[in-house]
Every structure is written in C-alpha cells, then in structure tokens.
C-alpha cells in the first residue's frame, strides 16, 4: 500500500482510499467540499512524488507546475509527500538586505540573500513582516540568472512598511519573510500564440522576471510588455528593457505614459494606459498567455478586456495587488 507523508509523518492509505480521505481519517484538518474533483476546494501541493494525471485535470498549467492536485480524486501508485496550500504561510525565512538603490523618486530596489535554500519562480511574491504588519512584494529576480533576490518597493504615502524599508532598514539588516506564493509566473504551454505582460508602477517587478524567464527558456512566439506610468520619469528599467528588445527579435517593449498630452510624450514612448496600448495592437488574444500586475483597477479592467478579447481565464495570470488601508 502506498503512503501519504504530511509534515514529516507517514500515513498508510487503505484500499482505494483517496489521499484526502486518508488525511481526514488521521485527524488532519484539510479543507474539502464536493469530493468529486469538481470544486477544487481541497487542492493541495505535492512536495515529492507525482500525482496521477486525473487528479490534476482542469487545474491551471501554472498550478500543475507547482505540484497542485485534487486529493479527493487522487489514488496514487506511489508514495506522495503533500502540503496544504496554507502551509506556505507558516515557515519564516530570515533574509539579509545586501543592496538598496532608488530606481526613481518613488521606487526602491532591494536585493536580499537567504541563508536557507529558498526556491521560487520569477513572478511569485513574498510576504515581509514588520511588527504585526505584513506586506506582499513580487520578486523581480530570475532564480537561474540572479543570485540575489530582488524586490521593487513603491514608496506609498503614509505607508508604514514601505517607509520603514526605504528609511530605516540598513544594509546587513535581517527581514522576516514567508513564501514564495502566487501563481503568476511563466510556464511553457505548447499551444499558446503569444505572451502579453501589462503592468503599472512597481508592477513591473514580476513582469521583469517573467519576461526574462520566458526568453531564457526559449519561448519563440511574440512577447509584448507594456509598462505604464503617469510621467516618463516614473518609468524605470527603460534602458535594460530596450536592450532586451534589441537582443530578442520576438520581444517588444512599450513604455506607456498616461499623464501627458499626446504631443508631450517623448519619442519612443506610447501615449495612454498600458492596457489600451496593448489592445490597440492585439485584436484577438485567443490562445495568448496574459500576465497582469499593478494597480487593482487596471488589473481588473484588463482582466475583463483580455477575457472578452478571447483569452481563456486559465491563461490570465494576475496576483492580487491589494492596497493596504492607510494606517
């Protein structure tokens, strides 16, 4: 009989028992609802072992890549070590600040190292703890290329955590972090026609990682990145992105300025919101993968626009970028 391993303990599965039933029988409080593979309420993650294909049916490709599966319909032929999705919130890492640099007036780049091994996908996010406050920051670094973990911190007016990171945290200080979390990352899917990334402000962070990840993994279909800000000086990484554009024929970068009259927008930049600039040149998004990050209104509107333009909901990736209520 095969075993289910959870938090270091092994549980033997009874004949034809699902992974979910096995855990429940052993007193583990796992969430569940329909028990027929439909509702996805019980979705878990396999840490080692391969869940059978039927238990991953109709999950997002990015979820499958993280080892997500539906334990209620999972009867594996091998041992499986599993984690509940909430478990990612429990392990706290200590990360040391090794670089602080302002990319413009409002965005601080932080680079961190971690003593422990910390595995993540470009585009996922971490939570940073400051006393009893928690804030999420997307990672801009690409693990196979960048040794340091990189965050782009937007200085929010009255933002306690962003001001603490900008003003008080010193090189060599340790940050308390949980993660990685989120399903907004590049995952190769054969049948896609292209990749669209739209971001505003520090929402460029995960997209900078995701676009480079796709390129480094040899994605050959068109990749379009539209990054928007009110003024040209609020954009950043413009030169680095233009260089990336020069070295990769299938990559096109559109810096977008929404706060100036059209004739005031500098040459080489587009006038308007980044989602409008994107949709003006892409009449159909059928079979496109779409990545969105930034202001919640922009993300929600663009999600709807992308879906109505033919993108499948499963191919639209956006992690919630929630503004904290002002303290």
């Amino acid at each position: 009989m095969t075993k289910v391993v959870y938090q270091g303990r092994s549980y033997e599965r009874l004949d034809d028992e699902s992974v979910l039933r096995c855990l429940l029988r052993n007193g583990i409080r796992a969430p569940y609802s329909c028990e027929s593979g439909a509702c996805q309420a019980c979705t878990m993650r396999a840490i080692s072992g391969t869940p059978p294909a039927n238990s991953q049916e109709d999950l997002k490709e990015t979820q499958k890549a993280l080892g997500y599966f539906k334990p209620c319909v999972c009867r594996p032929d091998e041992d499986l070590e599993v984690a509940l999705l909430d478990d990612a919130h429990n392990h706290k890492y200590q990360m040391e600040v090794v670089e602080k640099r302002f990319l413009n007036d409002e965005i601080l780049r932080l680079r961190l190292t971690c003593d422990e091994s910390f595995e993540y996908r470009a585009g996922q996010f971490i939570n940073i703890f400051k006393d009893d406050l928690i804030r999420s920051y997307s990672m801009a670094s690409l693990p196979v290329q960048d040794d340091l973990l990189e965050l782009h911190v937007k200085l929010v007016p009255n933002g306690v955590v962003s001001h603490w990171l900008c003003d008080d945290v010193q090189l060599g200080d340790q940050l308390t972090v949980t993660g990685p979390m989120g399903e907004c990352f590049y995952h190769e899917v054969d049948s896609t026609e292209g990749l669209l990334a739209v971001g505003t402000g520090s929402g460029l962070a995960p997209l900078w990682g995701i676009v480079r990840d796709a390129l480094i993994q040899g994605y050959e279909k068109p990749i379009i990145l539209c990054h928007g800000a009110m003024k040209p000086e609020n954009l950043y990484y413009v030169e680095a992105l233009r260089q990336l554009e020069e070295t990769h024929e299938n990559f096109n970068y559109f810096p977008c300025v929404s706060g100036l009259d059209e004739d005031e927008v500098p040459a080489g930049m587009s006038s308007g919101f980044p989602n409008d600039v994107a949709f003006a040149q892409l009449p159909s998004l059928a079979k496109w993968q779409v990545f969105l990050c930034g202001h919640p209104d922009m993300v929600n509107n663009t999600k709807k626009q992308a879906f109505l333009a033919g993108a499948s909901l499963k191919n639209i990736h956006a992690d919630p970028f929630v503004m904290a209520p002002h303290a």
Partner: protein
C-alpha cells in the same frame, strides 16, 4: 442508472471549456452584464462552473435555498424573467458551440430551468 450529460460530454475538463464560452457571452451581453459589474472574475467563474456542472447533472450540493439566498441581492436590483431567459439563451448557445447534441442540450436546459423560481425569489 444512465450517465448524466456531465459524464457524457467529458466531465470537468469539458465544463471548463464551457465556462469560458458561457461567461464570455454573459459578460458581453448588455442586457445582463450590469449584474456582474465589480465582481471578482475568478470567483464568478467558479460559480459559473458550479452552475454549469449542476445544469449538466454533474456533482453538486446546491439546494433551492442556496439559489434563493445567492440571488436575493440581484432580485432587489431588478433581476427578472427576461434576464433569466438571456442566461438560458447563452447556456444553449454555449453547449451548441461545443457540439453537444440537441437532446442533451434539452436535458441541461430542463435542469437549469428548474432553478428559475428560486433564482428569481418567486
């Protein structure tokens, strides 16, 4: 027991394809899309999936009371038979687009139709 439409068209994966088509039709329809303003698209899609799964005779735990409670705030905003009819229209068109036979579409429509009074709070 005979197989449900849900099983005959291919279960969860087929319903996923249906959700995209169905939800896109609903969102593009000016007769009804104002009821969906400001809703979380993922959560809404999950509800659409549960609805389609139920209409297709697949696994679900819906009761008439759930339907009533879940739509009461929309009834207050004027949800009526004409809106229900529009949704039924999109359900039929979606299944037709997926190549489901007229017989099976009829079975699904009958199940969906059976929720009308609860949805509209009658």
């Amino acid at each position: 027991m005979s197989q449900s439409v849900y099983e005959r068209i291919g279960g969860g994966a087929a319903v996923d394809a249906a959700v995209d088509l169905f939800y896109r039709k609903v969102l593009a329809d000016d007769r009804i899309n104002n009821f969906f303003e400001g809703t979380d698209m993922e959560k809404q899609a999950a509800k659409q999936k549960a609805f389609l799964t139920m209409a297709l005779g697949g696994p679900n735990n819906y009761t008439g009371e759930d339907m009533r409670k879940g739509h009461a705030h929309l009834v207050e905003r004027g949800l009526n038979d004409s809106h229900f009819d529009a949704v039924m229209e999109h359900l039929g068109a979606t299944l037709k687009e997926l190549g489901v036979s007229d017989d099976l579409i009829g079975e699904a429509a009958a199940i969906a139709e059976s929720t009308r009074n609860d949805v509209l709070g009658k």
